[in-house]
């Protein structure tokens, strides 16, 4: 399924897959994609890699109508309506026919999700007041795939309310059939033959926060994109680079002693546009950008911006991305690794996951702009994107925007709000007005 071993050139094959109906409509199971192996095998009973995408509507949600919208949208995304299963050699995803249930939110975000012992798909759709949220297990889809799903649910909701939609933009029309390209493994489709590489653990400044596994403190900072752009402009950096620089500066300001190791921020890059693939599964790759203060305490913000400028652009050149994903695909295709039983793979991959997590200081994921149909967009006040914690990274930053409204969300499983405070105070001092909201407040 979706193997790049086809004799057709890649572009022709993509065109062919885009015109074919998805085989998942009839298939009971399908292999998980290349990136998902890590999330599936690194999971623990009380922790799995989950992230959350949400949208705040302009009126309280009608739960019956939203359930109908969810049911209709779920049929359009067969690769998402699946649950994880352990195979002998690899994990795989089994399609579930059970309708995903919309529930009223009644607990903290990022509760561990039942993955294998459930008939529900490995995601959770909840509503509370005006907010509709989708918590997704990363082995099923990435943030852009999840935003596509969320946008489709919201669009369907307004269609059921009588809105007419001409251009669906990021949303999918629930009346269409899923194509093979949407549900195939995009890493296998794009990878070229090359040698596998062992992951290296880079020397990185790593701040071990006191964490509480049953504690998810989400803080949203809402601001205008135009204000943020104006603040980034004098430094000649993009919004992602600017926010990375703010985070690095906050880490430096927080450090009790001089920082001698590089501070690295891991940034997932959406590969869909670069490789012209419409996928509802995972298709991102993590790159990191960083700054080495070399023990200095007089580092200026401008210095950090100058060091970060162009780093991400250089790392995400098409050839570099292709080399990275091809190496990972080669490791998966390796005849020896293919025949190693899954429990042994789990031991190796858990270690690799730990290495990769300790190779950077924190995450920053910038989804970009959520584009909704013209008749739906005015009803959505803001889009939110929150990263779940990992056993090694108790703190994560993520942002998403809709129109001119950007929400930077900080998730921490620690009561210490120093990092969030430093980041938001820096932004307000730079002339970006910020509105703060949190799930923990008095």
């Amino acid at each position: 399924m979706g193997k790049a071993s086809s004799a057709l050139p890649q572009d022709d094959r993509k065109t062919m897959l885009a015109s074919q109906p998805s085989p998942l409509i009839t298939s009971r199971w399908f292999p998980i994609d290349n990136a998902s192996n890590l999330y599936a095998l690194a999971r623990r009973r009380r922790w799995n890699r989950v992230f959350r995408v949400a949208a705040v509507l302009d009126e309280p949600i009608d739960s019956d109508l939203m359930q109908q919208a969810l049911t209709d949208a779920a049929k359009r995304f067969p690769s998402l309506c699946a649950k994880l299963r352990d195979g002998f050699f690899w994990c795989y995803l089994e399609r579930t026919d059970e309708t995903p249930m919309l529930k009223e939110e009644d607990a903290l975000p990022f509760r561990p999700m039942p993955l294998t012992r459930t008939n529900q798909p490995n995601f959770r759709v909840q509503y509370y007041g005006c907010r509709i949220s989708l918590e997704m297990f990363h082995a099923i889809a990435d943030a852009p795939g999840s935003f596509q799903f969320l946008a489709s649910i919201i669009t369907r909701y307004y269609e059921l309310k009588g809105a007419e939609v001409a251009d669906y933009k990021a949303a999918f029309n629930c009346a269409d059939s899923p194509t093979a390209l949407e549900t195939t493994d995009p890493y296998f489709e794009t990878a070229v033959d090359c040698k596998a590489r062992n992951p290296k653990q880079l020397e990185t400044y790593y701040l071990r926060e006191p964490s509480n596994k049953r504690y998810a403190r989400v803080t949203h900072g809402v601001m205008h994109v135009s204000d943020l752009k104006a603040a980034a402009k004098p430094y000649g950096v993009t919004i992602t680079e600017y926010l990375s620089a703010v985070i690095i500066k906050s880490y430096l300001d927080r450090a009790a002693s001089p920082v001698t190791k590089p501070i690295r921020v891991s940034i997932p890059v959406n590969l869909r546009r670069r490789f012209d693939i419409v996928s509802a599964r995972n298709f991102v790759y993590m790159f990191d950008i960083g700054f080495d203060p070399k023990g200095r305490t007089d580092v200026t913000f401008e210095e950090i911006c100058n060091a970060l400028k162009g780093q991400l652009q250089k790392k995400t050149e098409k050839e570099n991305i292709l080399a990275e994903i091809s190496a990972n695909v080669s490791a998966q295709k390796n005849p020896l690794s293919r025949r190693v039983p899954q429990p042994l793979k789990r031991l190796v991959l858990k270690n690799n996951y730990k290495k990769s997590q300790l190779s950077f200081t924190t995450f920053l994921s910038n989804y970009g702009v959520l584009e909704l149909p013209d008749s739906v967009a005015p009803h959505v006040r803001r889009a939110e994107f929150v990263l779940g914690d990992t056993p090694y990274q108790p703190l994560g930053f993520a942002c998403a925007s809709i129109g001119d409204v950007l929400t930077l969300s900080v998730n921490a499983n620690t009561p210490d709000m120093t990092m969030a405070r430093l980041v938001f105070r820096f932004l307000t001092a730079a002339g970006v007005p910020v509105y703060i909201e949190s799930n923990f407040h008095e």
Binding site: R28, W29, P31, R45, R46, V56, R85, G87, F88, F89, W90, Y92, E94, E105, D106, A107, L108, R111, P112, M113, P114, R117, T118, Y128, G129, C130, R131, R214, Y215, A216, V218, T219, G221, V222, M223, H224, R338, R339, R381, R382, V405, M417, A420, R421, F424, R425, T428, A429, P433, V434, Y435, I436, E437, S438, N439, F440, H441, E442
Partner: protein
């Protein structure tokens, strides 16, 4: 509401700034943003993850007992304990699975795995010159049930085997 320490806008319902913990001021907000509250939960409810899989612990105990019986067993009678335990284990899973078709098929694969374990034990038994009659009987029984499942649900069983053993 605003926090004058952090210089940020806050919803009207907030009394304390979530960033610094200081009391908020009545000053009007700079940004015209409406509050989207979260449920008032400060303690995580028990995760909706099912309790540990009971079969898993049973299987672990049985695996250890099998190994012990195999090591101390010096006669055919002793080795019968190992297949009896293996068979009970497979039967336990099989009965649990009767209520769900998908699980029933996976139990077929579980029986196949039991055969594999029995074969490994056979090899050890041969190397250690232990009598292996009981294990042979257990393996034969498991194969019989597996074949029966394949005959009853051929297409689903083929798909299940493909899924479990895909490389």
């Amino acid at each position: 509401m605003r926090c004058m320490q952090c210089d940020v806008d806050l919803p009207d319902s907030y009394h304390v700034c979530p960033l610094c913990g200081e009391a908020v001021s009545d000053t009007p907000n700079q940004l015209p943003i409406e509050e989207a509250p979260y449920p008032d939960v400060t303690q995580s409810v028990e995760a909706d993850v099912p309790a540990a899989y009971p079969n898993k612990h049973v299987l672990r105990v049985i695996a250890v007992l099998c190994a012990v019986f195999l090591l101390i067993g010096q006669s055919t009678l002793w080795t019968l304990f190992t297949p009896i335990l293996l068979g009970l284990c497979a039967l336990f899973y099989f009965v649990c699975a009767l209520f769900e078709k998908g699980k029933l098929l996976r139990s077929g694969v579980c029986l196949l795995s039991t055969v594999a374990v029995a074969l490994v034990l056979q090899v050890f038994g041969l190397l250690l010159r232990l009598p292996m009659l009981g294990i042979s009987l257990a393996a034969a029984g498991c194969i019989a049930v597996f074949v029966l499942l394949c005959l009853l649900f051929p297409a689903r069983m083929r798909a299940q085997l493909q899924a479990t053993f895909h490389a």
